[in-house]
Symmetry: C2
Subunit: 298 residues, 2 copies
């Protein structure tokens, strides 16, 4: 008789709510000092996915009592005008954090735009100064999704210290910053880190060694059960919409991990939706509150 | 009858000389435009090891026809005065590169001093902006020893693309920047990278998987033969002085790899001395020449 094991579900909802409760206390403390953390969310054009993300960020600001500065620019905005908007936000003392929603229309140079944000207001953690501080191990802003993965691990009791973390995917948004974050000689880190990607040979042989496996490659259900070590902790960063004729919508969301197969192998796993995806916005709020504290405590 | 294999020796001398020859051509081309690359080497105090390193850097400048700006400050220099010196060098158009020899006396904050160097003159690659560009994959200055390891691999015909590189050590000078360098989606990189360190469990099981093994942990002969995969390429970054009563000096230099044991397992290996150690200074010269080109081509 086979015993069917089922992994523990790591709820992004529960953990994001914990952080939200902690932030409410911090925001209240700032308010008593007449400080309201302010976040500028810059949206260029009308990419439907970007509109959803931006609306969600602005809504969460409102719920937490943060000032949301909405900057909506047309898809054909010149780089000069976009940079001028950022410069204005850089100089506005009420704006503690600035986020430019990616991707930008093709005629705009994304890294140049990110570089224009003051590092101390770069709550998305994409400015080279913040990426560098992350790698060096100096305090700064870590990209929100990567920081969210670390929080999910720590708050579920899976400290990466001494563990072998295998990250599949090397984006600037998740894979590389998460690797930098977890390899540091620091509390909540101290992991042995392997970064795999599209060019990795014998991928399954590597993923099967992971005590903690992070899937951030953007391919639906790419990580199958046989790629997961028995009792590994699996963090699924992917959010992919695939066809599903059994649903009324005709589609459903899946991660980069084959969830049903992973359930039978892993010790714990983040679901999609309801896992990492819920962490990104709350980490953005946390970075904004930190920025407000730093900028007003001088 | 056992066949005793012997690894190919990767000569830092030969490869550094190749790069030196290439640089001489570039420096000559710059001279025809009335540009002489200038490097300021700042030495604080009288640490004997630092004095040796600084002398070597200044001597190499002279040999290549670079301007060497010598700034020697007393061990008790104030941070303010040191920062004022750096500021002066930042503003001097004849100085294209600035290097502050580490370590600094305890009363000086090293990262604060490094942060004061203009990123475009930071030829040591230790400013957060350059560390961040390295992680993001943007052009910038990579730390010289890490860049030297990559050059040794590429110029010996061991392209890391698709290979599993295991790096033992996570310093800001070698381990972390080399990991960032080799995991990029870029020519000369594209490796699968694992970073191990003092907190790694089952270290030998990981090092034995390395197609390319980099030892940068600072412990004499730490990597033994049994930790090396058959036919791996071994890059030994360590330079350790140990007792040796058979030598007239009573000591000798060894790397972080047990060389005699590695010779029998590896496909190729860098010796100590004569390997990575010879690359650092020439990569510094290359960064300085690049800096001069960038600063004078505007």
């Amino acid at each position: 008789m086979s015993v069917s094991r089922t992994a523990k579900i790591i709820s992004g909802k529960i953990i994001a709510d914990q952080i939200r409760s902690e932030l409410i206390v911090e925001i209240e403390a700032l308010r008593r000092k007449n400080v309201t953390p302010g976040l500028a969310v810059v949206l260029v054009g009308e990419n439907p996915a970007s509109q959803v993300y931006v609306r969600n960020k602005r809504k969460t600001c409102a719920e937490l009592g943060l000032h949301s500065f909405d900057v909506d620019l047309p898809a054909d905005v010149t780089e000069r005008r976009l940079l001028a908007s950022i410069d204005k936000l850089n100089r506005d003392p009420k704006v503690h954090g600035i986020l430019v929603q990616m991707p930008l229309p093709k005629h705009l140079h994304e890294q140049k735009v990110l570089n224009a944000i003051l590092p101390e207001k770069d709550v998305d953690g994409f400015h080279p100064v913040n990426a560098g501080k992350l790698l060096i191990g100096e305090p700064g802003f870590a990209p929100c999704t990567a920081a969210g993965c670390q929080e999910l691990l720590l708050r579920s009791g899976y400290d990466p210290a001494g563990k072998h973390v295998v990250i599949v995917g090397r984006s600037n948004i998740v894979g590389k910053p998460l690797a930098a974050l977890l390899m540091q000689k620091a509390a909540g880190a101290n992991a042995t880190v392997t970064v795999c990607h599209s060019r990795t040979r014998h991928l399954a042989a590597l993923t099967r060694q992971a005590d903690i496996l992070v899937a951030a490659i953007g391919i639906p259900e790419f990580i199958t059960g046989r790629m997961i070590k028995d009792k590994a902790v699996v963090i699924d960063v992917g959010i992919n919409r695939i066809d599903d004729p059994t649903r009324a919508s005709g589609t459903r969301l899946v991660g980069d991990v084959h969830f049903a197969q992973a359930l039978k192998k892993a010790r714990a796993i983040t679901p999609v939706p309801g896992g990492v995806g819920l962490m990104t916005v709350i980490m953005l709020m946390r970075n904004t509150v930190s920025a407000a504290k730093q900028q007003t405590s001088r």
